[in-house]
């Protein structure tokens, strides 16, 4: 993927905004969700919604650290757009009767840990750590999950919403890969040393320790819902393919690290990686919800209502 002009991209982002009220959430088609689909879809949508929301918070951190005004503004928009996706997905859940009252779907423990980590440490992370992890999450989870969803759900409103969401996501990925290439333009050795210094940061180690089981947990969840494992892996390999397309991209040490990690995740026979990480998933699954700190207030900004007076 060739690098994009970020100023033009910002103008494009501003001119292609949409709102929840652009979609008729009461239009016919909700009945196309089968009884068999419903419980699995509920879990699936909750996970998807939380991934979008977590992605939103990561973009908020990126906006704080972005090296240029244009990129800062782009990330501010992406932060809001990911929130819009989460809101739209909640609106779909409500349409399908998956929300009770005003309740926000409960995030799983791994997500709760990631939320906590993002809240405490994301703003302290260098821009290129999240700048590389976020495209991976978007391409792998978002990409694979959205494709799967559209293949299995016939409701036209769902297709209408995801057409808009996917348009946004393609811009997010375009910027994501451009930024990764920007990072790869300077000397690799220096970047590698700087990166190693960052990797030693205990806050980042905590982040990695939260991110790895989250990926495995999500993999287990989506497979349980019927998504072929290969589709997820294929999406993850897309990250390697696009990110490594240019020399600058390949020279970005964070790309190399995330790419390598992606290879471990997609190789089920890699016991050295999967045995301890799966164990972590099990351990975190045993953490009682009450032991987790209260969710930060940014989580409470989620809403399925297209309009708000308060």
């Amino acid at each position: 993927m060739a690098s994009i002009d970020l100023d033009k991209m910002l103008a494009k982002i501003k001119s292609t905004q949409w709102a929840l009220s652009d979609i008729d959430w009461d239009a016919p088609g909700a009945e196309l969700i089968t009884e068999e689909q419903w419980p699995k879809l509920k879990e699936f949508m909750a996970d998807l919604m939380w991934i979008e929301h977590v992605g939103a918070r990561a973009f908020a951190a990126l906006a704080k650290k972005a090296p240029t005004d244009t990129l800062r503004e782009i990330y501010s928009y992406f932060h809001a757009e990911e929130q819009r996706h989460a809101n739209a997905e909640m609106a779909l859940m409500r349409r399908w009767g998956m929300l009770e009252g005003d309740e926000i779907p409960e995030p799983n423990v791994n997500l709760r840990i990631i939320i906590e980590w993002l809240d405490r440490f994301a703003d302290e992370m260098p821009v290129y750590v999240l700048g590389t992890v976020v495209p991976m999450l978007e391409i792998a989870l978002d990409g694979a999950l959205c494709t799967f969803l559209l293949e299995t759900v016939k409701d036209p409103v769902c297709h209408q919403a995801f057409e808009k969401i996917n348009d946004d996501e393609s811009r997010h990925l375009g910027v994501g890969f451009t930024v990764m290439e920007m990072q790869g333009r300077s000397a690799s050795y220096i970047k590698m040393v700087q990166m190693m210094a960052r990797v030693m940061d205990p806050r980042l180690i905590l982040g990695i320790a939260s991110y790895m089981p989250l990926l495995n947990k999500m993999r287990d969840n989506v497979i349980a819902m019927g998504l072929p494992e290969e589709k997820l892996y294929k999406a993850m390999q897309k990250f390697e393919r696009i990110g490594g397309r240019t020399e600058e991209g390949r020279r970005n040490p964070w790309f190399q690290l995330i790419k390598q990690h992606g290879r471990w995740v997609t190789n089920r026979s890699n016991k050295v990686y999967h045995v301890p990480v799966d164990a972590l998933v099990k351990i975190t699954g045993m953490v009682p919800r009450k032991a987790l700190p209260a969710v930060p207030s940014w989580v409470k900004e989620l809403t399925y209502e297209p309009t708000a007076t308060r």
Binding site: A19, A88, S297, T307
Partner: protein, 522 residues
């Protein structure tokens, strides 16, 4: 603080409030008495604008014995920005004892930071006290100012084709006089009430209304706490959080007012104290120094003390060096945002719709009224009306690359013309009126020279102006204003035509010397 002999002699510490109401009645809605044809003999001075600057100039002219001048005011009352900015909570963020003229002290300020109404009373007091009323021509909106080189006369033509002439002209129309609704997509679609902070609608009843406030600058943070008290719900749309410092605002005890009345020197001493304490702030606000870090710590402490929620605190934490934009002062802004009927929205605005404001997170925030606290139309490269100088040159054209002047007050090619709040005269840390007094004294020197020596032309040399600007831009490059944030101080290209890069004392020194060799005369 520099004052001239004249100003010291004529200081009259009298109470403005007593005469204010009467003054307002007499000055308001006064009709023009000008003739369509210019009088045979030009006046000595034409002043454009009856705000602080224009009235201050008039007072100093009178004190200097120059009586044949007029003030052309486009409105029907005096007061300029303080007449226009009467929104709830409007107040000055500089202590009143410093935000007033040293040649017209007011011992009766009710608070350390007075509200706009009291400041406007003070302005009316100036009119009454110094007998300025007869000099003011209301509802005369100047549409063009043109210099006649052969006669050495400035001609002001109003939008109703009324003509006034003067040997010298003072542009005192104010830098913050014009405002408009911001160019947000869909703003014309909104069916509810739209109010600009500088054109407040006092008849609109906010009680029981859902209100949006766009903008969290100096006006926004004063309006919001007042609206939260009366409106049903207030949504505050913030683009960039500013640095908000605590506001040491106290009501003035009666004994203090009495002391200032009986012993004017005590008020002068207070003014000096305030002046020097503000001067010291320059070290934190104008340049990036260890004091800047201390000021930022005070700002963060203020935020931490008043806002307990981590995310809200993050939303309100500025990401630019303090001083880069106007430093805000408030004790009640942060608490107001946390009231049950208030909410801070930091999502970017996507557009305005018929019912409210759509933000990028996809939600339409429906409201009855939108208050735009979005500031003023500040021109960095033009003039509010065409100003034509020697050989028909147009100041707006000369300023296309950014406004430039000599010592902020004269522009080469535009003889006998004096600017107030001209290019690079803005303070970031001290009272604007302190800077204004220096400008008035300088203009007075020039006018005296023109009138006294019967000059047709007193024009600053091009090379002197260029030398001055080269030096000022070099100094500006090292300031916080030019450190990377976007603000109304800068043009889109980042050129700073607004601020003075130094202490008020430096500015006063710059203005105290009238270098005749920098001018050509005829």
């Amino acid at each position: 603080m520099s004052t001239t002999e004249d100003s010291k002699k004529t200081a009259k510490p009298k109470a403005p409030r007593k005469k204010a109401a009467a003054a307002r009645k007499t000055t308001a809605r006064r009709k023009s008495t000008a003739r369509k044809k210019a009088p045979e003999k030009p006046l000595s001075v034409l002043i454009v604008g009856a705000g602080f600057a224009g009235l201050g100039m008039a007072i100093r002219l009178k004190q200097a014995g120059i009586e044949d001048f007029i003030i052309l005011e486009r409105g029907n009352a005096v007061g300029g920005t303080w007449r226009d900015n009467q929104y709830p909570g409007a107040a000055c963020d500089i202590p009143s004892n410093l935000y007033s003229y040293s040649f017209a002290p007011n011992p009766n300020w009710s608070r350390s930071f007075s509200g706009s109404e009291e400041i406007l009373d003070y302005v009316h007091h100036l009119v009454a006290e110094f007998g300025l009323e007869k000099h003011i021509r209301f509802e005369q909106n100047v549409a063009e100012l043109r210099f006649d080189e052969t006669k050495g006369i400035w001609t002001a033509t109003t939008d109703k084709d009324v003509v006034f002439t003067g040997r010298a002209a003072v542009m005192a129309q104010g830098p913050l006089a014009n405002c408009s609704f911001p160019a947000i997509t869909g703003i014309e679609d909104f069916k509810g009430k739209k109010i600009h902070s500088a054109r407040w609608d006092h008849d609109y009843d906010f009680s029981g209304k859902n209100v949006a406030v766009v903008g969290t600058g100096a006006s926004g943070i004063q309006i919001i706490p007042e609206l939260v008290k009366v409106a049903k719900h207030v949504k505050v749309f913030q683009r960039t959080p500013g640095w908000v410092m605590p506001r040491p605002d106290f009501s003035t005890p009666e004994w203090n007012k009495l002391l200032f009345r009986k012993v004017p020197a005590s008020q002068q001493a207070m003014r000096e104290l305030l002046y020097w304490s503000h001067e010291s702030m320059a070290l934190a606000v104008i340049w990036n120094s260890p004091l800047t870090r201390i000021a930022e710590r005070i700002g963060k402490w203020h935020l931490r003390r008043q806002v307990k929620d981590r995310w809200l605190r993050r939303q309100l934490t500025p990401d630019f060096t303090i001083g880069c934009k106007r430093v805000l002062v408030s004790n009640d802004y942060y608490p107001a945002l946390q009231k049950d009927n208030a909410k801070l929205i930091t999502w970017p605005i996507a557009r305005i719709s018929e019912e409210g404001i759509r933000t990028v997170e996809g939600i339409e925030h429906q409201v009855d009224c939108i208050v735009f606290a979005t500031g003023f139309d500040v021109s960095h490269s033009g003039t509010p009306f065409p100003v034509l100088g020697r050989g028909g040159r147009v100041m707006g054209d000369d300023w296309k690359g950014g406004a430039q002047a000599y010592k902020s007050i004269n522009v080469s090619g535009y003889p006998n013309l004096f600017l107030t709040f001209g290019p690079n005269s803005g303070p970031g840390h001290n009272s604007a009126l302190v800077y204004m007094e220096s400008q008035l004294e300088y203009a007075l020197k020039g006018i005296r020279k023109i009138v006294g020596e019967d000059l047709k032309m007193l024009d600053v040399r091009e090379d002197a102006q260029q030398r001055f600007n080269k030096s000022i831009q070099k100094r500006l490059a090292k300031t916080n204003w030019n450190s990377g944030c976007k603000s109304w101080y800068l043009t889109e290209d980042g050129f700073n035509a607004t601020m003075y890069p130094g202490f008020a004392t430096q500015y006063a020194t710059q203005m105290s010397e009238f270098k005749e060799e920098d001018y050509q005369t005829a």
